[in-house]
Symmetry: C2
Subunit: 475 residues, 2 copies
Amino acid sequence: MNLEYFLDKEKGKQVVLVQGLGFVGSVMSLVVANALKGDYAVIGVDQDTDAGRKTVDLLNSGTFPIVADDPKIKEYFDAACKRGNFFATVDPVAYTAADIIIVDINLDVRKTSDDAYALTDYSVNLNPFIAAMKTIGNHCKPDALVLVETTVPPGTCRNIVAPTIKAALEERGLPVDQIRIGHSYERVMPGPDYVDSIQNYYRVYSGIDEASADAVEAFLKTIIRVDEYPLTRLGNTNATEMAKVLENSYRAMNIAFAVEWSRMAEEAGVDLYEIVHAIRHRPTHKNLMLPGIGVGGYCLTKDPLLASWARTNLIGGKERLAQSEKAVSINDQMPRYAYEFLEKRYSKPLEDVKILLLGVSYRGDVGDTRFSPVEFFCRCLLHAKAAISTHDPYVPVWSELDIRPHQQLSEALRDQPDIAVISAGHRIYGKEETIDALLECKPMWIYDTIGLLSIKQINKLQQKHKVIILGRGDL
Amino acid sequence: MNLEYFLDKEKGKQVVLVQGLGFVGSVMSLVVANALKGDYAVIGVDQDTDAGRKTVDLLNSGTFPIVADDPKIKEYFDAACKRGNFFATVDPVAYTAADIIIVDINLDVRKTSDDAYALTDYSVNLNPFIAAMKTIGNHCKPDALVLVETTVPPGTCRNIVAPTIKAALEERGLPVDQIRIGHSYERVMPGPDYVDSIQNYYRVYSGIDEASADAVEAFLKTIIRVDEYPLTRLGNTNATEMAKVLENSYRAMNIAFAVEWSRMAEEAGVDLYEIVHAIRHRPTHKNLMLPGIGVGGYCLTKDPLLASWARTNLIGGKERLAQSEKAVSINDQMPRYAYEFLEKRYSKPLEDVKILLLGVSYRGDVGDTRFSPVEFFCRCLLHAKAAISTHDPYVPVWSELDIRPHQQLSEALRDQPDIAVISAGHRIYGKEETIDALLECKPMWIYDTIGLLSIKQINKLQQKHKVIILGRGDL
């Protein structure tokens, strides 16, 4: 099948194009192809690179490119394949057919840090994003709706997206006053609720003008269960762009807060996890975060910086967001601190010590290793020449370090590690069979970096092993 | 009635002494006198000063010394008076009779700030607290339970309370191994749920040893509805002391976070209140705070500093809590910024401009002016020689500035202010009759410093008045 054939077959339907087929765009395509109301023809467009062409080929041959725990992914993908209303391509001609273009591409921050992982500087390179907007402007219908879902620096729709697309339209001799541009950020959460994190979740949206906001609203109502999760319209695109980065900065900042207090807890001989759980009884304090090995993923590690950068570069503010920048810097240093915590307590140098990392992804029960703190923790151990092995049932290949983690715990433990580090919150590590398996090993150190073990489990393990816990005084 | 007579009359009952009859101790006395289980003889002890003697006299003559919105205060006080199981005194002899001593005295931080209200330094003077502990040790039974509710620097029970009391017992030739010392911080909230904030709320507790923790637990179970609000025991007194200051630091920090973003919102021409309300739909972001005129009250303004001070002075840490200190400094500057926001926008110098402050207390619907940000805001206006008038139905006398606020809004508006500032969140200011009353005034400026007005109300007021809102771009 080619694009022309697809469009001919789907004639009469509204065409929705999703730009970018990564963690967000690929699942967004499925949700639109399985819209709650109406019937769209959906075209997923990825970059004309090796990786992009591979993704497109996989999709068109009936294989979804992301492994995920959510059964709805398969269900929605199979339904779209059966219905035939989804097609993937790298051909920019696709834009000419689109009534709605959803922007789900990346916008990266480049950080520079010192040897201690403390942030020293960072930069935002808008050029790839601007190029993508030019591609849209060079091909799109003059009355298309462009819906930006990418997390962008506040001010982007107004100062970058609109002028870039309008300039391209003008160059093509087309009217510039019919294009509609809106912003509505996703809150996609890879994992067991992957699809629901789009379809069954609150949305905030806006447009560069009233007509744009209305068009975004009309579209979102067809794909999101708005009766249960009502939409919120904000006054302008600056507001929604800011809301997104504020959300993630709030999380990042609350983690940085917990980090500082966990250092004090260690000094005071108390268990910060116990304190946080006690305080969370209060509804006003439910969002209090836990400390741990670090912050990972694509969002919390960079969004506060996007915001701060935008303040002086797009908004016209004179100051950066000092607290949010500081939060990123503190969080970036967590893996190093987690390493030093172990190094200080372990009686011998770590060279040749057999260390098993239990979990390498940045979140529990998800196989997502982007900016995983375990990577930085592991780099510290490798630098100390420790003998590393890994276990992660969600990560068959840890591409960042080119390691293939053990998939079975029994296999991982067969090698009798000197230290087992609980480094990701996969539920399996808290199960009694895991505790029992650990108790069958020769005496070793168990290092819980995320407060996963219960007091009861700690007591049990201490009968044979030495247990240390980040964010706690000595046991 | 005197103490001797009271004790004789109440013979056979457990005697609970409450040390300190301020915002916490006075209501704590009522809760204990009206215990859910058991029947206590309660003695409230205040300092032998003019203020202390006045409080004691009021209480013993049947007048509760604090005006509060909570009908339970009167109900509980009347019941205790009728039952006759409460007596107030300044006589330290009272300690000799106490089985349980509850410490509800203040422990203050002295701040120094620059002209912009930014924190430059601070100190914690433990001497008055130590003196109070000495008073206990000099008179108490050797097997009393001392329950500290005061917010103290973490490490205080272990490093100050226990050694001070034990040294005093030793000097009296008494055994030192029978005294029990515990810590369980209150979460008292003056206002309509004053009593419930003790009796119907979660409690965290600990003891310097197992017997102490058990004794605290047994006592708390008789005064708190633990079936609905279960108690949480933490591992040691450092942990509960830290939990309290962490709770308040968390709030202070989240406000400081909102402050920084509200500056960016003003620059970006967006409404931060709108953004915060949109984000709060997410359960993970419910605790996101609002910006405003400032942070007041006795706790959030100092507790982060108590914690930070303790880290280097009592816990043995090498660093302060930099983020928490920074949060206090940012929050302290909010009133000055709120003043500058007005000054920049108002076309003329503020000298002789008639400015009406609507609300002077630091919280909505409560008459508590301790460290109210409105005080600092007002000082800025007075410095600019503005002509200030005030309205606050909860504050008959604003003692910090020696001002008697108008009690009736109609009276306050009769003088036709040039600027009306919504400076406290009393519900009355959001009522339609207030909006109507404002619309009857001659054209003026209305300055909402706390995002109290709805969009609809703003639109209505703008028909006649100029409205400006802190944390929003220009309207």
